[in-house]
């Protein structure tokens, strides 16, 4: 059975468990999703399920997207994402709801991290920066040496340095599900998930359990 959903980050808060301990919770508006396409090893070379999320105005989608959804008489859906699943046990047009997850499950959540813009090495890669005292000037957050001397005489490709940070795909692994509300399509996981509020998230069964 496929354990995967597309959701939207609502925000964070804290709730109390039975023992009265406050636990940090991220709320996710998850689903209802629809199976828009099933990938099979015969046809596509791998097995996966394509899910769609968020109903949209038809004019927001292209004709190709609308036609793709119309095959299974599905409403216009804004986000389509694929989930790998050996035996999905689903056919095209089926709805997928939060009830695929239960309290206590471990999930991986994939999102797009908040953009930080162009950042230096200290923030981006936790470089130590230079000494703060002993007559230093302009060296406090400098990256230091980037390469060797005459040989090789250049900076190796892929070396860490200042540059654009954030706005990339990030996976948070092994988050515990603490809340499932089928009626309001709400999912609560313990801890933080990547991205801003309102960001699109993929929720999958945890790979490393």
């Amino acid at each position: 059975m496929l354990k995967g959903l597309i959701g939207k980050k609502v925000g964070m808060t804290q709730i109390f468990d039975e023992a009265g301990v406050a636990i940090p919770v991220t709320l996710i508006e998850a689903g209802p999703c629809y199976v828009t396409q099933v990938r099979t090893p015969d046809k596509d070379g791998y097995s996966a399920v394509q899910l769609g999320f968020v109903e949209a105005k038809p004019k927001r989608l292209s004709g190709g997207q609308l036609g793709h959804l119309k095959r299974n008489n599905l409403p216009p859906l804004r986000f389509l994402r694929e989930f790998r699943a050996k035996e999905p046990g689903l056919s095209e047009g089926d709805p997928v709801k939060v009830s695929v997850f239960a309290v206590g499950d471990a999930v991986d959540v994939v999102g797009t991290s908040k953009g930080k813009g162009f950042q230096g090495g200290v923030k981006r890669y936790h470089f130590r920066g230079g000494p703060k005292t002993h007559g230093q000037s302009d060296r406090h957050r400098a990256p230091g040496a980037r390469s060797s001397g005459t040989t090789p005489g250049r900076v190796y490709k892929g070396s860490r340095g200042p540059g654009h940070m954030g706005s990339e795909r990030v996976t948070t692994q092994n988050l515990k599900v603490v809340l499932v509300d089928e009626e309001r399509n709400l999912l609560g996981v313990r801890g933080a998930v990547p991205g801003a509020k309102g960001g699109i998230l993929l929720i999958k069964e945890a790979r490393k359990q």
Binding site: T13, Q14, F16, V25, L27, E29, L179, R184
Partner: protein
């Protein structure tokens, strides 16, 4: 529902057994303590030296001087289900919101003037 409303709906409600508290109050906090399968109530009596608002995360700190003049401070979440109830025994006249100066004082100088309402 908006995001804020969704978040509010899963948060714990206000505890009706906690009256309005303010810094300087002498209070008795009744805590539910679980020991194995038994539940008992423990009291913690002291002076509120700090109130922190913040809805779901609001808390307050109670200071009491235990034996040998050792100060003990405990912070309680206002919406924690572990708090059975809070009793206010005395209001005090205080001129600041955080009474950290009580930490440096002992004996007579650590007293607060009572406020009658």
């Amino acid at each position: 529902m908006s995001n804020q409303e969704l978040l509010k709906s899963v948060e714990a409600p206000d505890n009706p057994n906690i009256p309005e508290l303010s810094p300087g109050d002498t209070v008795k906090v009744f805590l539910r303590i679980k020991e194995g399968n038994n539940e008992r109530i423990q009291e913690f009596r002291g002076t509120i030296i700090r109130m922190r608002s913040g809805g779901n995360n609001g808390n307050f700190t109670v200071r009491r001087v235990a034996s040998n003049g050792i100060g003990v401070e405990r912070t309680f979440l206002l919406r924690s289900p572990r708090i059975e109830k809070v009793q206010v025994e005395r209001h005090s006249k205080v001129r600041r919101a955080q009474l950290y100066y009580l930490r440096d004082r002992t004996g007579k100088s650590a007293r607060l003037k009572q406020k009658f309402s």
